[in-house]
Symmetry: C2
Subunit: 390 residues, 2 copies
C-alpha cells in the first residue's frame, strides 16, 4: 500500500558524511542469501569437513502451494495471554508474517474472549482454539492418587522443581501423550511448539515446515541439556522394559549413545528442551511412540515421579528415529528462561540478522548436551565455538 | 521474492471445523484502517465531544519523496549493545521496516566494531555513529567540582536514585543541551529517541515523522509523571528567573497550568518521560531553548543538584510551545522499565494490533501526569479509562 516497501536507496535527502562520524552503513536491501538452515558438515580426520547434503528451498519457485499442513501449537492458560502474545509477536516478526501458518491454542478450560480476540489480532494465519478433553488432563483410573499425593509432599520437602505440582504433571503427561492426538490437530502433519515469554533472535526467511518435510526431518531442537535425575528415577528402567519387548521399534542408526554413555545400561539424562520443537505430528502418532507412551503411562511415573515431556519425547526421538531425521536449529537464536541458543559465528549472525548476544549462548558450555549431539553425529562445530565454553 | 506475501485465503489445505473447537479466526489481510494517531477530541459539557482536526497521511499517495529529514537517536555505551538491539528490533518490527528512516548512535567513547556491525545488520535505514565531543560530556569551567562531589556524597547517603553518579549527570546535561547540536545530526529536522530495553506494543503503519511535521507538532510523549523533588530543588526558581528576563519566549496558549498548580509559583514536578520522544530538533535549536539551557547550565544545577533532561525538556516544551504543538501518542504502546503506556480501549488495541496488557497501563493511574495533561487540554479521555485507575 505504501510505495516505500523497498529500502531507501536514494541519497537525495540523506545527510552527507559528518565529522566525528565513526563510520556508518548505507540503507540495506535484504537479499535472501540462504534458503535453509546453516548446513551441517561431517568432521573428517585430517581433511576438509564434508558438507551434509540438504535440500533447500528455491525462493524463485516457492509459492503458496508449497506450504505444508502445519501449525504453531501453544498450550496456554488464560492468565498466560500477554506473555504468550509476546512470543507470538516474536515468531510472527521473525518468520510467520512471511508465511501465515496457522496457530492452534489448547487449554484445559475454555479460553476467555479476551484471549481469543487478542491472539486473533496478532497472528497472521488462522487461529484455532481447542478445549482439552477431561480424560487428557486427569488421573487415569489405575493411578493410586494417595501414593501420588505422598510423592508430591516428599518432592516439596526435597525442593524438587515443580515437584509439588499436580497441574505440572498433567501438563507433562498431556504434552507427552495427548497434544498430538487432539481432534483440532488431526489434519496437520507438522507443528512448532511455542511457549510464553520466548525470544527468536534471528530472521528465518525460508519455510521451515517445508524444509523439514523435504529433508525428511521428524524432530528438531535448539537447546539440549541433562534432566534432574530426581524427577525420573525409573524412567530409563521403564524404557528398557519397553525396548526389550519391542526391539522392532529401535531405529537403525539411532542415538542411543547420546542418551547413554554405557550402551544403554543407564540414561545420562540428556534431552532436547521441548519448549521449542518443530516436528512431525505423525511421529508421535506412530505405533512405536503410541505404545511407548502407553507403557510409560501404565507404569505411572508421570504421577509417582515427575516425568517431563522433554525426556519422554527425547528418548523416543533418539531411539525410534534414525539420527538423520533429527535436526538441530543452530541458527534460529532461541531464548526461553533461563537458556539461550545464539549462533556463535558472527558471519551467521550477520547473515541471518540475529540480535542475540553470543556470550549468552549455552550450546557449547559444560552443562549442555549439544556437544555430545555433535560428537554422536560427527558434525563439525561452528567456527569459534571454543571461545564460548566454560 | 516469495509469492506468499499475501495471507493464505485459500481453504483447500485448511482443516475443516473441529470438535472441541472454541471458535477461531480466518487468515487476516491487514488493511490499513488508520492513517495517523488516534484522533483527540475536546470534551463538551453536556454535548458530543468535538474531534480535533488532524491531517492524516493518504497511503495511496504517500511515496518515498514524502519522507522527512528524520532519524532515530540513541545515546549508548558499548555495553548496551544487546539491550539496544532488542529495542531496535522493536522499533523496526513495529514501524521502521516500512519506512527505513536512519539511525544515529552517540557515545562519549568510540563504538566498538562489534557494536557497529551488529546494529548495522539490524537497522533498515542508514546507521550513523557519532563520537560526542569532550566539551559536551565534562564539567564546564565554572563548575566547582568539590561542591559537586559533596552533593553526590550527600545524595548517596539520602539514597536519591542516581544521586551518586557523575556519568548520569553528564548524560542528563548532554540530553538537555547537546545531543541536538551534534554535527552528525545537523541535517535532520526530527528525531525519535530510543533507549535500551524498551518495547513498542502496537503497529505504527503511518510515517510518524511526516505526521508530526504535517500537523505542526514539535514535541511528543507516551508517559508523563512527577519528578523526584529532591533532584530538582532549585530548578523552578532558576526557570522563573529566566522567564522574568525573557517573557517573550513564553508561548501563547502554553501549558503553565500543567507544570504548576498555583499559576507558576511552584512546580508540581510533572514532566514528559523523555526516554520516548518524537520531536523537532529545531525546537531545541531555537533561541528560546538555547538560552534557557544556557541559563540552567550556568546556574549549575546539573551538577549541584541532579536535574534530569526530562523535566528540563518538559518545562521548555510546556512553556515555549503552544499546547497544540505537543502530542500524546496514546496508541504506540510503549514500555520502559518500570512503566507502560497501553491503549485501554480494546478497539484501539485491535485496530493497531497492540499486544500489551491494559492492566499495565499507567496513564490514568494516580501517579501519572497524563490525566492532568488531558484536563489542561480539555481532551476527552479514551473509552474505559475509568477502569484503569487506582
Amino acid at each position: 500500500m505504501y510505495n516505500s516497501s523497498q529500502p531507501n536507496t536514494k541519497q537525495a535527502d540523506v545527510p552527507p558524511a559528518q565529522p566525528n562520524k565513526q563510520g556508518g552503513s548505507e540503507s540495506k536491501k535484504f537479499e535472501q542469501k540462504y534458503l535453509g538452515p546453516v548446513p551441517k558438515a561431517l568432521s573428517v580426520e585430517g581433511g576438509a569437513p564434508q558438507p551434509v547434503d540438504q535440500k533447500n528451498i528455491d525462493p524463485d519457485t516457492y509459492t503458496e502451494k508449497d506450504k505444508v499442513k502445519a501449525t504453531f501449537v501453544s498450550l496456554a492458560r488464560n492468565s498466560d495471554l500477554y506473555s504468550l502474545v509476546d512470543s507470538i509477536r516474536e515468531v510472527e516478526d521473525r518468520f510467520n508474517k512471511k508465511f501465515h501458518y496457522d496457530w492452534t491454542f489448547l487449554n484445559d478450560v475454555e479460553f476467555s474472549s479476551e484471549f481469543k480476540e487478542t491472539v486473533s489480532t496478532i497472528v497472521s494465519g488462522k487461529a484455532n482454539f481447542g478445549l482439552i478433553p477431561k480424560e487428557h488432563w486427569s488421573y487415569p483410573e489405575w493411578i493410586d492418587q494417595e501414593k501420588a499425593a505422598l510423592v508430591r509432599e516428599k518432592m516439596r520437602e526435597q525442593k524438587i522443581i515443580y515437584g509439588h505440582s499436580e497441574s505440572y504433571r498433567h501438563m507433562c503427561r498431556f504434552e507427552s501423550g495427548f497434544f498430538w492426538r487432539q481432534e483440532i490437530l488431526k489434519d496437520y502433519d507438522y507443528y512448532w511448539r511455542v511457549e510464553p515469554d520466548i525470544k527468536i533472535y534471528c530472521d528465518i526467511d525460508y519455510d521451515v515446515f517445508k524444509w523439514m518435510k523435504d529433508n525428511g526431518k521428524e524432530y528438531s531442537f535448539t537447546i539440549s541439556l541433562p534432566e534432574y535425575k530426581e524427577t525420573i528415577p525409573t524412567l530409563w528402567q521403564t524404557t528398557k522394559e519397553f525396548i526389550d519387548k519391542h526391539k522392532e521399534y529401535l531405529a537403525p542408526n539411532n542415538m542411543m549413545n547420546w542418551l547413554s554413555d554405557d550402551d544403554g545400561n543407564t540414561y545420562n539424562g540428556c534431552h532436547f528442551w521441548s519448549n521449542f520443537e518443530i516436528a512431525s505430528l505423525n511421529f508421535w502418532r506412530s505405533d512405536a511412540y503410541r505404545s511407548y507412551f502407553e507403557h510409560l503411562d501404565k507404569a505411572g511415573g508421570f504421577f509417582y515421579e515427575r516425568w517431563g515431556d522433554a525426556p519422554v519425547h527425547s528418548i523416543a526421538a533418539a531411539l525410534f528415529l534414525p539420527k538423520e531425521k533429527i535436526h538441530f536449529f543452530e541458527d534460529v537464536g532461541y531464548y526461553h528462561v533461563p537458556f539461550t541458543n545464539c549462533p556463535v559465528d558472527p558471519e551467521i549472525r550477520k547473515e541471518r540478522r540475529c540480535n542475540c548476544d553470543p556470550q549468552k549462548d549455552f550450546s557449547w558450555r559444560g552443562y549442555s548436551c549439544t556437544t555430545k549431539y555433535y560428537n554422536v553425529n560427527g558434525f563439525k562445530r561452528p567456527k569459534g565455538w571454543e571461545k564460548y565454553t566454560g
